[in-house]
Point group: C2
Chain length 345, copies 2
């Protein structure tokens, strides 16, 4: 590729590089005539401004980064992630920002990545996915006042920008839904215990159970990862108990798929034997057999809003709320309700 610089254009147009630069940035005090001529020459010679050089002087990169949580490998297996990306990209593209995807394989690696991207001034802001309890990273970014938006929540840094759901309430609603269907033995298939989302949903589950005066057996609570695999395992464990739950709240639809598959395989019927509600409402939940009841957490909105807040912050606009809660709603499907007429049974 031939590299055409601003100097080449200047020479060809018989003006100074300063003038070319002003034409490129549509500076107001440039004569129409000069502007037209320079633009024509840029076109002819195939000029494209060097983004790096521009960044260096403007000290801005027009780029954001999404930092994938450590086990990025796993993350992508959860389909929830794609929807989140859609939301983030929709807004950032519109606002003229490029998006960088940074995967970190180890904590050490994560530190290096942050150093490179953030302190190396490669990006203007960063979106953090999946908040862990006591995440040192959040503290580090916060201390340096680097524009950051967290999807989730952080206990240590209450003033950090964040977008989240009310996960306590969401889990409460899911559990309550099973309770009013008459279930008394309700289990909870959770995610990794170091994720705030796991803690919050657990809390909502317990709260609903307590309020209803139902007891929570420790063996009805199983932790795992966000993989169908985990759902399968959790299910086989619970179904081996002398006193089995009759309803399950499951941390994620993919895990829910695993649970459902396992139950079917063991000959149980959903919802007759076991009722099921999970979270995230991924596109395939409604296509499961039976369709899975799920808490829609507004995944796309979550991403869109995160991008919006981050860009506002970068552009030093006033931000009215440091913490935005995206509303959730329970989508009731056949996996949790007997009374809905089964179409093919």
């Amino acid at each position: 590729m031939a590299v055409v610089t601003i100097k080449d254009i200047a020479k060809a147009a018989g003006v100074s590089p300063s003038t070319v630069s002003r034409v490129v940035s549509n500076h107001p005090r440039i004569s129409k005539e000069t502007s037209r001529k320079v633009k024509r020459i840029m076109e002819e010679m195939g000029y494209h401004p060097n983004v790096m050089a521009k960044s260096l002087v403007s000290k801005t990169t027009q780029t954001l980064a999404i930092l994938l949580p450590r086990p990025a490998e796993e993350l992508f297996k959860d389909f929830f992630f794609g929807e989140l990306m859609r939301g983030i990209l929709a807004h950032s593209t519109r606002a003229g920002y490029d998006m960088m995807l940074a995967a970190a394989t180890s904590p050490q690696d994560e530190d290096d990545t942050i150093s490179r991207l953030v302190f190396g001034r490669r990006v203007d802001g960063i979106i953090l996915l999946s908040s862990r309890v006591d995440d040192p990273l959040i503290e580090r970014l916060d201390k340096h006042k680097f524009p950051t938006v967290l999807i989730g929540r952080s206990e240590g840094q209450p003033h950090i920008l964040s977008v989240d759901n009310d996960n306590v309430k969401a889990a409460y609603d899911a559990t309550h839904h099973l309770i009013i269907q008459g279930h008394e033995r309700i289990g909870f298939v959770s995610g990794l215990p170091n994720l705030t989302v796991s803690l919050d949903r657990m809390e909502g589950y317990r709260k609903a159970m307590n309020e209803a005066g139902l007891s929570v057996r420790p063996e009805w609570i199983v932790e795992g990862e966000f993989l169908q695999h985990s759902g399968y395992r959790a299910m086989s464990f619970m179904m081996s108990l002398p006193e089995k739950p009759s309803g399950l709240v499951v941390i994620d639809d993919v895990v829910g798929f695993g649970v459902l598959h396992g139950l079917t395989e063991l000959g149980y019927t959903v919802p007759e034997d076991i009722s099921l509600v999970s979270f995230n409402n991924i596109a395939l939940s409604e296509l499961a057999t039976p369709p899975i009841s799920s808490i829609d957490i507004g995944t796309y909105q979550l991403g869109y809003t995160a991008s919006q807040m981050l860009i506002r912050r970068i552009q030093a606009e006033t931000i009215h709320q440091n913490r935005v809660i995206i509303p959730h709603r329970l989508i009731v499907r056949d996996s949790s309700v007997h009374s809905i007429s089964k179409r093919n049974s």
Copy 2:
């Protein structure tokens, strides 16, 4: 954030900026002592090299871009994409490259994005997803000899680097599998006709049908998008025909989910009434009811290999094959086989 530059370090260490630069890049002819001292001071002052400045002089960015096909919005709805990204990121991260995600909303926008990223020298190479027939973009990149890898194939530029499946053979295999199960009326639910993957799979389908002496009715071929929605629509159309197919080859698992759901809803049984094979083998395919037979196209490998080829190309290493074909294999599940004992029927 306080900005510490190489000059600050130089001053504090009592050496020249050149020396600091050499320490940073582990230049061999720097005394152990100087190196140690400078490193200590960098640590103390919190020095991080400015990536933009480095790029400007080195003319390399250590960054790749993935250009999302135009309707990126849709793409993310297909779960296949996440797996592809996993593969791409796994390798690129390992090789020390950052990844940029570029979404283009319109053709115009796509051009601007390319100009900015490629000609603005913001990235060192680019991975193109989803090859369309006669894609002008491929030609443009190829003409400028910009390091590019295409996931898919391009008729116009046979020498461009590409990673692909043998989609003709894959569809042949899928169709043949139905044929040896005794099906004679087999339909094909395709994707958008401007994608090479749609064309190739269609060809394989026709080929298998022809070889077996089976006729292909035009109404048994339906085109749509890669969404469950499309599967649903295709299915209702075909099931309204006087002569319905008894087997279906479906371009994508997500579409397959839609087909399956629709069939179940209409009271058909799979595979007894209709047998089904689709492509991509996404994680949830095996959890469908019944589990969906699918051609595993090695999605992760596809991404991994693309990244590998691109980085080799950038680093000017010898590339033995311009075009790499990732092998596929048919995963037979209950959706296409009567004889497998149904666990719960």
